[in-house]
């Protein structure tokens, strides 16, 4: 099984440790991982702004980088959603369809494909609240959604439950958007920041020590708000916990 690793642009530049944790975790699980060197971005900033034509070359580059792999894995539900559901600016060749079909977010890959049973190297004796990126939740279905009448499930939680010592706390508004929203965070700054501040307050009231998510982008925004507000909360990507980096 050949896996191509995609590291989202913001993660590459701002949170390389999450990329490293993802790579090491996959290697630990005996996955043959390659990081194609010419990768840049999934194209989401353009597509979400309505600029599909402007995203076409970026999509093409992505496909060129990744079409030879059996699976494409990335530590981001949001970018996965972009590849799987929105790569529409280019011709839907076999290669494109192969890439769209075989792109997985790390949580899905561990939970649905590898079906990992244990993370014996990881320990995390902390109170944790899970943050769901909206694309991961409602686009990829990482978990059941509070708006729907459906049985509870949560892929991130069922993975984290396998880490010893971890304790979960619940938010009052468990799947309310935190206000990151990609370009929304800067185009609609006032509303975005307010949503982030409210999210941080909910997290603080929950008694959580750590906020864990499958998406660093939301966390970057929340962390930025918490830090400015002087709220002492820690934020970490699920890859870091599952790899035992913060044990």
């Amino acid at each position: 099984m050949e896996v191509g690793l995609f590291i989202p642009c913001y993660m590459d530049a701002l949170e390389p440790e999450v990329g490293i944790a993802t790579l090491k975790l996959l290697e630990r699980l005996d996955v043959n991982v390659t990081y194609p060197f010419d990768q840049t971005c999934c194209g989401q900033p353009m597509t979400n702004t309505g600029c599909h034509k402007e995203a076409a070359d970026t999509e093409r580059l992505f496909v060129k980088n990744f079409s030879k792999f059996d699976y494409i894995v990335m530590p981001s539900g949001s970018c996965t959603n972009q590849v799987r559901h929105h790569f529409d600016a280019i011709d839907q060749t076999d290669e494109v369809q192969h890439v769209r079909k075989n792109t997985y977010d790390l949580v899905e890959f561990l939970h649905d494909i590898l079906k990992v049973e244990a993370f014996p190297w990881a320990r995390f004796p902390h109170k944790v609240a899970i943050h769901y990126n909206c694309n991961a939740l409602r686009g990829l279905r990482h978990a059941s959604m509070s708006e729907r009448r459906e049985a509870f499930f949560s892929k991130p939680k069922s993975l984290l439950e396998k880490v010893s010592g971890i304790e979960f706390v619940e938010l009052e508004r468990p799947d309310e958007c935190c206000g990151f929203g990609g370009t929304f965070s800067v185009f609609e700054e006032g509303v975005s920041a307010k949503m982030g501040q409210d999210k941080v307050m909910d997290q603080q009231r929950s008694g959580a020590e750590y906020i864990i998510s499958a998406d660093s982008s939301c966390l970057m925004h929340q962390k930025g708000c918490a830090s400015r507000m002087g709220v002492n909360l820690h934020y970490a990507h699920i890859a870091q916990i599952l790899n035992g980096d913060l044990s």
Binding site: F37, E176, G190
Partner: protein, 480 residues
């Protein structure tokens, strides 16, 4: 008095003719009115929670949503046939049926009916269509006194402000805000902001109008083709009062409100109030199939661009809307911006997808007032793909050259940068060193939009890219 009651009410968007509405500017003012914003958020979130509780009581909830969606799809596919069936049956029941192509014609028809009856006063219950057509303003110009009989709607009428929400029109106001309006317009006691007193003041001052009105008007939540009936849902009973007290009842209703049969009505009634307010049903679910003895009933069927939307593969699903407001209640952006920030009859997620259909230029900013989180789509009782349509509108606006210049320039340059790995690498890092600015859209924003209320992430020593190069490719080789 508390901070909430001392804080002046924030006002809505500054609408300047056909110029693009600056939703964000109004949203920022709403957020700045901290206590109002907090109350607004909590009230609407409370409605969302009550909705969830109702959903959990109904085992067939998701099945009902699917049925509602399928019934609406089917009806839209056969819209002309069902409208004709409605017209036939309503006419046979003694109802006068009128057709209006647009707002202007609808207002004219209503004006004419009133003139024929020498009607000078009209009591009306809530109708979003009449807001859409600016009916009240049109009638007032002709010298008709129009009285809104729904409490929230009456508050907004007296304050000369549009409704901020399709179900709870004055949800953005505090009791003190209402009290101030009533002191000015209804001679209410200065400083008495007791909610019971205020509601009673409205009841007592509206009642004489209801008793003596020449005509009554209601909207229509549903038209039933099979029986030729109009169904109206209210909690106050004001539609029944408006329709049953004066001798003349006029209904104004959009053509998309039709459903085929009575059995379908059950599906929608079960979903409507549960989705809207989290109550099992509205207090009054009223069924007007014909004029009462000695009375007269008119139904004005209004198109006003609905038939155009019907042809749009991308946006026709917006016609399934039953105006429950659930998408507004759950929308994190709406709860923090206030409905008036949208500067449009329809606000929140449904407003984002309906408004640009009326005027793409004026409402070009609205589809961006969303984080695309998708909660709206999940609560919608008729399964409108709201967040997908918001997403689709952005593309349509870009195609129609309605994207703001700053967005266009930024996206063109980003698109180029991301398509060229070497140029991209140079922009992000020099050798091992991560450049001290952020790699993408954040850095391009001259107003430092990220940093105004958020700390910037710490710049790491190296990118993942160079770490990988060092540790996996060739130690020290670095980038190609």
């Amino acid at each position: 008095m508390s901070d909430l009651q001392n804080e002046p009410q924030p006002r809505g968007a500054k609408v300047k003719g056909r110029h693009p509405v600056d939703q964000l500017e109004a949203a920022n003012r709403f957020i700045a009115a901290e206590a109002h914003q907090k109350m607004h958020d909590q009230r609407l979130w409370d409605l969302r929670k009550k909705r969830d509780a109702q959903m959990h009581l109904i085992p067939e909830w998701e099945e009902l949503r699917e049925l509602a969606s399928e019934i609406k799809e089917h009806t839209l596919d056969h819209l002309a046939d069902y409208l004709e069936e409605f017209e036939r049956n309503a006419t046979a029941n003694g109802v006068h049926v009128h057709w209006a192509q647009d707002a202007e014609e609808s207002n004219q028809i209503i004006n004419d009916i009133l003139k024929q009856h020498q009607a000078k006063t009209l009591v009306k219950s809530k109708s979003m269509l009449s807001e859409e057509c600016h009916l009240r303003q049109s009638l007032e110009k002709s010298g008709v006194t129009v009285i809104e009989t729904d409490l929230g709607e009456r508050i907004q009428q007296l304050d000369n402000e549009d409704p901020s929400h399709v179900v709870v029109p004055a949800v953005h106001k505090t009791r003190t805000d209402v009290s101030k309006v009533f002191v000015k317009t209804l001679h209410a006691e200065q400083g008495n902001n007791d909610v019971h007193y205020l509601a009673e003041t409205q009841r007592e001052t509206t009642r004489p109008y209801i008793l003596n009105a020449d005509a009554g008007m209601t909207g229509g939540n549903y038209l039933v083709a099979e029986t030729g009936a109009v169904v109206v849902c209210t909690n106050e009973g004001n539609a029944d009062l408006s329709a049953n007290t004066p001798p003349l009842h006029i209904v104004t209703v959009g053509i998309e409100k039709i459903i085929p049969k009575m059995e379908h009505l059950a599906v929608f009634i079960r979903l409507l109030s549960r989705s809207a307010l989290g109550s099992p049903i509205t207090q009054y679910t009223s069924y007007f199939r014909g004029p009462r003895k000695g009375g007269e009933m008119h139904v004005v069927l209004v198109d006003n661009s609905r038939s155009t939307r019907l042809a749009s593969e991308k946006f026709r699903a917006g016609l399934k809307c039953i105006r429950c407001g659930a998408c507004m209640n759950t929308c994190p952006v709406f709860r923090r911006s206030g409905g008036l920030s949208y500067g449009s009859t329809y606000a929140g997620p449904i407003g984002l997808i309906l408004s640009p259909g009326y005027n793409a230029h004026k409402y070009r900013n609205l589809p961006f007032a969303s984080s695309l989180n998708g909660s709206c789509t999940n609560v919608c009782p008729v399964k409108i793909n709201l967040h997908e349509q918001i997403f689709a509108w952005r593309e349509t606006l870009a195609d129609e050259k309605e994207l703001s210049l700053s967005k266009r320039i930024l996206m063109t340059s980003l698109g180029k940068l991301f398509a060229h790995p070497k140029a991209y690498r140079t922009a992000v890092q020099t050798g091992d060193k991560v450049l001290s600015y952020l790699p993408h859209f954040i850095v391009y924003n001259q107003f430092n939009a990220w940093g105004r209320q958020r700390d910037l992430p710490k710049t790491p020593k190296e990118t993942f890219h160079s770490w990988y190069a060092k540790n996996y490719i060739n130690k020290g080789k670095g980038d190609e």
